[in-house]
């Protein structure tokens, strides 16, 4: 984003989206092209297997785990402890910060290598590390790019997809000294060389966790670059930040979930690297960390869980498929949404995690086209949940008085057919541009489009006269 961008917060969505479309049209080009490629790869990968059955199964497994969350979390804790892992429960971001601060202090940590973790974004881990005088280094290539740019990720899986190849050429030229005409492979090699030093000197690796198997205490991570493998095995200490919704009952559930997530995210049969972390290095092992911590993070998830409708969003496996197919997301990318999670999934989990007041108007940032639900690997009924948050907005009186009164009046008219058709005919002949001041719906319309031409006679009139 440029310096003059609107604030980075959900409340500024409309201005931020408009600003992005107006000032940085290349973002729309980059995001549009990347998401369409991702989506077409996903479509092929779904078509190669019985994806409808896989998705039913994944929905049921994740749903079962969530409805028995306390049981599986306690089982996971016992398994992790048995494996020699230090387990921490964190209700808030501050709790997570305290755990990290303790590890930093105990081990004299000065450099941290991080693998891509949306949860760590949500928890502002990098800012916290910097406040402790620790240097965090993002090791996923996309995250590395946006860390150099000092930007937040704009997509769950492809954090830098809003940037073009030329943006990266210029950035790497300035920061790593690569030639301006470098090929992508050469840019990746330059990043790899720089990161290798950091992997070797870091005292701590911080990762997320895609899944946590309760029966074996296994943290599962998928990736394509190998940086997660290094982050979780080279430094002496590894801290995995895992949202409490990531727990699944059995180790064997991972087989299906890891494959489905990869197919949904990038169209791959499985990620190029799968790390199944069972605890610290044991006596006869040659590598791996000496100490492993798993932080089980709530940070608003139980609030979301307590909502009878919205809880279904907790099944999310963070594949980004709903972003890739979303025609709204495609216009701006993720920054306009003003928080960690963007696109359709962001619009339904942000109100739960942040509170509805801070997340508005994100549940309205959708035309309810339903494409997201077509592709969701765990079948989250996203449009239904968007409408649910809109209903809560109304119930809590957070929408405008004009809208509330307008809808009441509209419903009243709809129960009185004579008045309704008279009012509809009046609207037909209203000069939209002039009436826009009184009726915001009309001004929003004519800002971007011509007013529609009304039929010369209403259908009601044509019917009365007889149709031949």
């Amino acid at each position: 984003m440029t310096g003059s961008s609107p604030e980075y917060r959900p409340g500024a969505y409309r201005e931020a989206a408009a600003h992005s479309l107006r000032e940085t049209p290349m973002v729309r080009d980059s995001v549009g092209s990347a998401t369409r490629t991702f989506d077409s790869l996903r479509a092929h990968a779904y078509a190669d297997v019985e994806s409808d059955r896989w998705r039913d199964w994944a929905r049921d497994v994740k749903g079962h785990a969530l409805t028995h969350l306390d049981q599986y979390l306690e089982q996971a804790e016992r398994s992790l402890v048995r494996n020699g892992v230090h387990v921490h429960w964190a209700a808030t971001a501050e709790d997570v910060h305290r755990v990290i601060a303790k590890v930093v202090e105990t081990h004299g940590v000065r450099t941290v290598v991080k693998s891509k973790s949306m949860l760590s974004e949500e928890l502002d881990v990098n800012a916290h590390l910097e406040s402790l005088g620790v240097r965090p280094v993002e090791t996923d290539l996309g995250e590395y790019i946006i860390q150099l740019l000092d930007e937040p990720p704009s997509h769950i899986v492809g954090p830098a997809i809003h940037r073009s190849l030329d943006d990266c050429r210029v950035l790497f030229h300035e920061r790593l000294g690569t030639p301006l005409d470098s090929e992508p492979d050469e840019l990746a090699a330059a990043a790899r060389a720089a990161l290798r030093e950091d992997f070797l000197s870091a005292d701590l690796g911080i990762s997320g966790g895609n899944f946590l198997a309760a029966d074996t205490g296994t943290v599962a991570l998928i990736e394509n670059e190998g940086n997660i493998r290094l982050t979780t095995s080279v430094p002496r200490v590894h801290v995995a930040l895992v949202g409490i919704e990531k727990v699944v009952p059995r180790f064997e559930d991972l087989a299906g979930l890891l494959q489905l997530t990869a197919r949904a995210a990038t169209g791959q049969p499985i990620g190029l690297f799968v790390s199944l972390i069972q605890g610290p290095r044991t006596g006869d092992e040659v590598d791996g960390p000496e100490e492993v911590h798993v932080v089980l993070v709530d940070n608003g998830r139980t609030t979301l869980f307590e909502d009878d409708v919205a809880w279904e969003a907790l099944r999310c496996v963070r594949c980004g498929a709903c972003l890739n197919i979303c025609p709204v997301y495609r216009q701006t990318g993720g920054h306009a949404y003003g928080w960690t999670y963007s696109g359709p999934i962001g619009a339904i989990i942000s109100p739960g995690l942040l509170g509805l007041d801070r997340a508005l108007p994100l549940p309205h940032a959708s035309s309810l086209c339903g494409a997201c639900t077509d592709v969701c690997p765990v079948r989250i009924p996203i449009p239904e949940l968007l409408i649910h948050w809109r209903e809560r907005t109304v119930d809590e009186g957070r929408n405008s008085t004009a809208e509330r009164l307008g809808m009441k009046a509209y419903a009243g008219l709809a129960e009185r057919p004579g008045a309704f058709s008279a009012a509809a005919s009046a609207l037909r002949w209203t000069p939209w541009r002039a009436a826009g001041r009184a009726l915001p719906v009309l001004s929003g319309w004519v800002q971007e489009r011509d007013a529609p031409s009304p039929s010369p006679r209403s259908f009601r009139d044509l019917w009365r006269e007889g149709i031949e």
Binding site: R390, Y410, A414, G444, E448, S458
Partner: protein, 247 residues
């Protein structure tokens, strides 16, 4: 076949001729068409904006108006989707739910009714040589599963339905969305317009989508003609001399 036509708010005011063409099409396939004059709004704008109580009032009114109809046909995929897919879940009593499910089972989008109920796959040859792009309205496509029927009918009239990479991507209308977030909504329409192949006419089973696309094309001064599916299909039956539909 006794068909009660539910013309919808936009149909009544902005696509009146297309709704008249829907009457002609329905009669052409042998239906006896009525127009219950007490009909108003299906409640979709209220429902989609989170005003559940108001949507429920409109649902109650609509289920009463169409209580006795053998079939209810709408020249709009999204309003048909509201009645068929949303009413049941919106219901607050067992009685309301029963009425909603009963109505849902009798409700069809126009092209769906022509193909699936009236068993019509051949209409005429009035669109011979016309290059047509069909925009799949999201609710017709996803809530009703209507995708082949309009294309089949257009082809049966001799039209060449041209491949369009974005034909299943949302146009950005989304009801109140188009006014609440007009900049993003317009950008969505722009993607549709910018990918549009060279055609004689763009059509859709949804008036809202057509207003969005034609309104945006107008603002950008793009000379693209838009016509409601009902009008185009009636032209397919009656030829170029058919009464011209609106928009």
């Amino acid at each position: 076949m006794r068909v009660a036509l539910f013309v919808t708010c936009l149909g009544d005011q902005f696509f009146a001729e297309a709704c008249a063409d829907a009457v002609r099409l329905l009669r052409h396939v042998g239906a006896e068409v009525s127009f219950p004059t007490d009909q108003t709004c299906c409640g979709q704008p209220a429902f989609n904006s989170g005003h559940r109580r108001e949507a429920l009032r409109m649902m109650r009114h609509t289920t009463q108006v169409f209580a006795d109809a053998e079939y209810v046909v709408l020249p709009s995929g999204s309003c048909a989707g509201m009645v068929r897919s949303m009413y049941s879940g919106l219901s607050d009593t067992d009685e309301a739910r029963a009425a909603a499910e009963d109505l849902a089972a009798r409700t069809y989008e126009l092209s769906e009714f022509l193909v699936s109920v009236a068993d019509c796959e051949e209409l005429g040859d009035g669109l011979t040589g016309h290059r047509v792009a069909y925009h799949h309205g999201c609710h017709a496509l996803r809530e009703l599963g209507v995708s082949d029927q309009p294309v089949t009918l257009l082809r049966s009239c001799g039209a060449e339905v041209i491949e369009w990479s974005a034909d299943r991507e949302c146009c950005g209308f989304g009801g109140t969305f188009s006014a609440k977030l007009p900049e993003v909504s317009a950008a969505m329409a722009d993607h549709k317009l910018d990918t549009l192949p060279d055609v004689d006419v763009v059509t859709s089973a949804d008036g809202g989508c057509l207003l969005q696309l034609s309104g945006r094309a107008g603002r950008r001064e793009l000379p693209v003609p838009f016509r409601h599916l009902a009008s185009l299909l009636w032209q397919g039956v009656a030829g170029a001399e058919a009464p011209r539909g609106s928009a």
